[in-house]
């Protein structure tokens, strides 16, 4: 259990002339819940896409449980136990909530009986308190409920070792957010599933994630417990911009620190 579940090694991805992810290397331990924060456009979603196979890296490797994911399409990566959610809920709008969960069972790599699959799906719906809506069409759900359904579908995948959640809490009602947190905790605790959660919601992340990583301009700039990370001058600079001359002495150290990091480039106005 000592070897990490996920190793990112020198991942790099450019779109046209814009480097969305530049040289990210990190590891995720098995059973870890890791938060990933960073200003808009810092490359968090691209990073999830690189792990999930939605995007291919220009350079670098993704290694899951000791085996490279290089060149594998998303469905093959899903078969290895990687599930993900998207910023805009990608639910199947004209299916019932229950069918939305059963879909993952149609994937090539898993052939379960109807009965077993249905039992699993119903258990999951109870876990996220959507069981009352099992037979409602997904298009009738609220935005938050759709996000919750998307999370449940992600949790329904088997095998499941790593969940990549992209802004699961954005614009979600606090009650639903609470159910999400509980479902994530429960899945993590019961099955040892690892989570990488992109979010801007610090209070929610604080409850979930032992460690938080920060991206800025495509680079991985900090790692650590949320409170420590939040005090890191590079992180403060990433969020608030370069401190001007009017700032106090503490913040004044930030530009010097940033210059030896990766984010020394001038900000691209685009």
């Amino acid at each position: 259990m000592d070897d990490p579940l996920l190793i990112l090694d020198g991942l790099h991805k450019s779109f046209g002339g814009v480097a969305a992810v530049r040289g990210v290397s990190t590891t995720l331990a098995r059973g870890e819940i890791r938060g990933l924060i960073g200003p808009n456009g810092s490359g968090k979603t691209t990073l999830l896409n690189l792990v999930g196979g939605q995007t291919r890296p220009d350079r670098g490797w993704v290694v899951l449980a000791g085996r490279s994911l290089e060149g594998q399409p998303p469905d093959a990566i899903a078969a290895r136990g990687v599930a993900r959610t998207f910023q805009l809920p990608r639910v199947f709008r004209h299916m019932t909530v229950l069918e939305n969960l059963l879909v993952v069972v149609c994937a090539d790599h898993r052939r379960a009986g109807w009965v077993e699959a249905r039992r699993d799906a119903e258990a999951l719906l109870r876990l996220v308190h959507l069981d009352g809506l099992a037979h409602a069409e997904a298009r009738t759900l609220s935005g938050g409920q759709a996000m919750l359904l998307q999370l449940a579908r992600c949790l329904a995948q088997r095998p499941l070792v790593l969940c990549l959640l992209d802004e699961p809490f954005a614009g979600v009602h606090p009650g639903i957010k609470e159910r999400m947190v509980q479902a994530i905790h429960e899945t993590n605790r019961a099955h040892g599933v690892t989570f990488l959660v992109v979010s801007h919601e610090m209070p929610t992340l604080r409850r979930l994630a032992g460690r938080v990583s920060v991206m800025h301009n495509g680079a991985w700039i900090a790692d650590g417990p949320l409170d420590a990370v939040a005090r890191d001058p590079r992180v403060i600079e990433a969020y608030l911009g370069r401190p001007g001359p009017g700032h106090g002495p503490e913040e004044g150290r930030a530009p010097g620190r940033a210059a030896d990091g990766h984010s020394g480039q001038p900000r691209d106005p685009a």
Binding site: R93, E99, V103, D108
Partner: protein, 296 residues
């Protein structure tokens, strides 16, 4: 107007409408799953007719047409899967959504290829197998037996299709891909495989229509042209992407053609559908069940 005669024409319209449904459902299904329009649908219809004709005349004999039907459907479906695998899939490698214009160019090229292959292999002649069944007496009215067989065959196939789509794992996977390709992919669905199957099933339905109608209309290289046009008429009437729309549109077109023939003139049989189409476009541009806008 004689009510008996009217009934007969209504029945004839419904019978042919059932066959139109097969074409329209095939087109809609391929569009829904792959987000592309298969312009060569009529050519798969034509091939279905030829396969059926060859099976009956050269191998199985005219009595065993019922055995030839599923074989013809499977042959066309297999050909469709091959075409999808070899010609359509490589174009879109690495892209999630099908690019309409590529699919249009490839499938229109296929119509030319298939028509000319038919001329090369069988000449420009018109073939017709013997009627599948003697005329059926429906109350006081005799109906051409092959048409009845064609209608029943279409009904069985559409029922089977509905069963697969609504009640099986494959159907669930097909529907998920139709509703959200990226979501289905992330959930572990193999899109290339589903696309191949969907294309095979879709053109298989067209092949079935061709095989079922072989004795009614003739089998010749251009036989698919009109059926493609009719398929698209129905799609526009019923609404693009709507399977119920395809069914209702198919029957509606059959009825309008049949009643137009008897009430106005049989010479303009193929025009009445366009009249309905124009009327519907003026009143309800999205079709009966069409989507208001494409979901991104």
């Amino acid at each position: 107007m004689d009510p008996t005669l009217l009934t007969q024409y209504v029945l004839a319209g419904l019978v042919i409408g059932g066959i139109y449904c097969l074409m329209a459902v095939g087109i809609t299904f391929i569009y829904s799953v792959m987000k592309m329009i298969n312009w060569a649908m009529g050519e798969f219809y034509m091939i279905g007719g030829y396969v059926q004709y060859v099976l009956i005349t050269a191998w199985l004999g005219p009595q065993r047409w019922a055995l030839a039907l599923p074989l013809a459907v499977l042959t066309v479906a297999a050909l469709g899967m091959l075409v999808q695998r070899l010609l359509l899939q490589p174009m879109f490698a690495g892209q999630l959504e099908r690019l309409d214009e590529y699919a249009t160019i490839v499938t229109i090229s296929l119509t030319v290829l298939f028509r000319n292959l038919a001329v090369v292999l069988f000449g420009p002649y018109q073939f017709s197998p013997r009627d599948y069944a003697p005329p059926v007496q429906l109350g006081p009215l005799p109906i051409n037996g092959s048409r009845v067989v064609a209608f029943l065959g279409a009904a069985v196939l559409l029922g089977l299709f509905a069963l697969v789509v609504r009640r099986t794992w494959l159907g669930l996977a097909l529907r998920s891909v139709a509703q959200n390709r990226l979501g289905a992919l992330a959930a572990g669905i193999n899109l290339s495989r589903i696309d191949m199957l969907a294309f095979g099933i879709g053109v298989g339905l067209a092949g079935a229509a061709g095989a079922l109608l072989a004795p009614v209309f003739l089998v010749y290289p251009e036989s698919g042209a009109l059926s493609t046009v009719k398929g698209f008429e129905i799609i526009v009437i019923g609404g693009l992407g709507s399977l119920p729309g395809s069914i209702v549109g198919g029957f509606l077109l059959g009825l309008v053609e049949s009643l137009g023939s008897v009430l106005i003139s049989p010479s303009f049989r193929d025009v009445y559908g366009f009249g309905l189409l124009l009327l519907l476009l003026a009143l309800r541009p999205t079709g009966l069940w069409g989507e208001q806008a494409r979901e991104a």
